[in-house]
Amino acid sequence: MSATCLEIRNLSAVLANGQRVLRSVSLAVEPGEVRALVGESGAGKTMIGKAVLGVLPLSVRIVEGDMLLEGENLGRLSPKARRTLIGTRTALIPQDPLTALNPSRRIGPQMTDRLVRILGWNGERADQRIRQLLEEVQIRDPDRVLKSYPHELSGGMRQRVLIAAAFAAEPRLIVADEPTTALDVTVQKQILRLIAQLQREHGTAILFVTHDLGVVAKISQKVSVLYAGKVVEEAETAALFAAPQHPYTRALMAATPRYTDPLASLKPVDEAVLAGLAAEIAAADRAWRPRHG
């Protein structure tokens, strides 16, 4: 099946107080493709990931739009069918490896559990699979790691474990939610390289959420730039960096610090650009009526 791996059409979501957090977001991720979602804090990039995985906070409500996972419209499925589809086809590489592993369970059972209970594998096959993946994420002493509790491992090790766990069930789509933000700089680079490598080998599509344009350039083929829950620009990564079209994208790039002159290059995004965006969004909100909601 060569259906688009993930297609989001016109997705809008509001908070309980009626404030919009996603504004008619549309994007598509083709099989095997890495799509970066970039934007500042609060731009709604994590919200999109959570919406796809079906774990939006209770306070956020989707008011219009469709999400299609491999051609299946998530909104039309029964809750149970949706859970099964999401559980078997997707995985998450989370932001904070500290809290993403259950502190009271050993790594081994935690990792095999999902393969056994969701995919129905037997224990031995699951164990072999996990060991293979641990090798792929370059964990040298899998026996020790499998027997450890999460707090006995370093942040980088935990993130490796989580990457292995995400790829283990061979999902079609992985949502990577700022997977390097909580790590220190030297480890960030290794983890990023690891994700890119596993992505290539397994041919998994990734929705890569980040605020770091440097990461975007390294890992993704396509980018969606988000501001205030709205996609302001969408392009192939190379094209975006060569010729950013939207003033906000240009401002965001200008704000990225450079090693040569770090202090001088730390510029906030231009006020005029933000004012223009705010006016644009306000106008759109006035015109907007949810189609069903």
Partner: protein, 282 residues
């Protein structure tokens, strides 16, 4: 190795002293007919108000002296321990079962379940606990099971509150979200993922609650609302000792020491257990 050393240094003495006292008291209570030097109910007016063994006038075989009816104090304390421990275990487990279950549900499901359970807890805790207990026993009638039921009915809120808060904290962690993405059922996540992380708190509370149950039972027997007046209870002995404090201080002081040591040991033991159980502290 490092971890083992840390436990022994940091928590060792507490765990051993508290556990040691509890074990001693528990064994004495279980084997009371064998270890008690005298019949706890045997009165002998020739032997009334004998002092403890180190004072002049003490009789061999009556180590902690006798009360105003000539009954052996040590034997009465040992037999009183039977009731204290039965009440402690039964009441604490019952309160724990009810409170932890409701707390887990309220904390994990939130929303209406949480609102309803939390309001019930608030209303429940508005009653003064000892008065509530006396009222309950007065209604249910005296007797061992009434005392146990009364304590459980009053104190489940203690578990409910703490476990609810702990569960809420755990439910917000990413590993719970991860389990939801994987497609586990809600009840499965609650029991398999969240529950093991609140067990250390449950264990600590359970031990603490046993101490509280011992006190409440003593209070009830102090006001003569516990069980039949024939069987010696710690609270009952304290009540009797209070009357003869000027003639025989030991009848008041020894049960008090026993009670305090037991309650203190339960709480210390709970703390130490919690530290042992908690994989992050360990």
């Amino acid at each position: 190795m490092d971890e083992a050393r840390m436990i022994r240094r940091g928590l060792g003495p507490r765990l051993w002293l508290a556990g040691g006292w509890l074990l001693l008291a528990l064994l004495a209570a279980i084997f009371a007919p064998l270890v008690a030097p005298q019949d706890p109910l045997a009165q002998d007016l020739m032997l009334e108000r004998l002092p403890p063994f180190w004072m002049s006038g003490a009789e061999p075989g009556y180590w902690l002296g006798t009360d105003s009816l000539g009954r052996d104090l040590l034997s009465r304390l040992i037999f009183g321990g039977r009731i204290a421990f039965v009440v402690a275990f039964a009441a604490a487990f019952a309160a724990c079962l009810v409170g932890s279950t409701l707390g887990l549900i309220a904390g994990y499901f939130g929303g209406w379940a949480d609102r309803i359970i939390s309001r019930i807890v608030d209303i429940w805790m508005a009653f003064p606990p000892v008065l509530f207990a006396i009222l309950l026993v007065a209604v249910l009638g005296t007797g061992l099971s009434s005392v146990i039921i009364a304590i459980a009915v009053i104190d489940w809120t203690r578990f409910c509150r703490v476990i609810r808060a702990e569960t809420m904290g755990q439910s917000r962690m990413d590993y719970v979200e991860n389990a939801r993405i994987a497609g586990y059922g809600r009840i499965g996540i609650m029991l398999r993922e969240v529950l093991p992380n609140v067990v250390p708190s449950i264990v600590a509370l359970l031990s603490l609650e046993m101490g509280i149950a011992v006190i409440v039972e003593a209070i009830l027997s102090f006001v003569n609302l516990s069980i039949s007046t024939d069987d010696p209870t710690w609270g009952g002995i304290i009540a009797e000792g209070r009357l003869s404090i000027h003639q025989a201080w030991w009848v008041l002081v020894f049960p008090l020491i026993t009670l305090i040591l037991t309650v203190l040991s339960f709480s210390q033991f709970g703390e130490a257990l919690r530290a042992r159980f908690d994989p992050v502290l360990r």
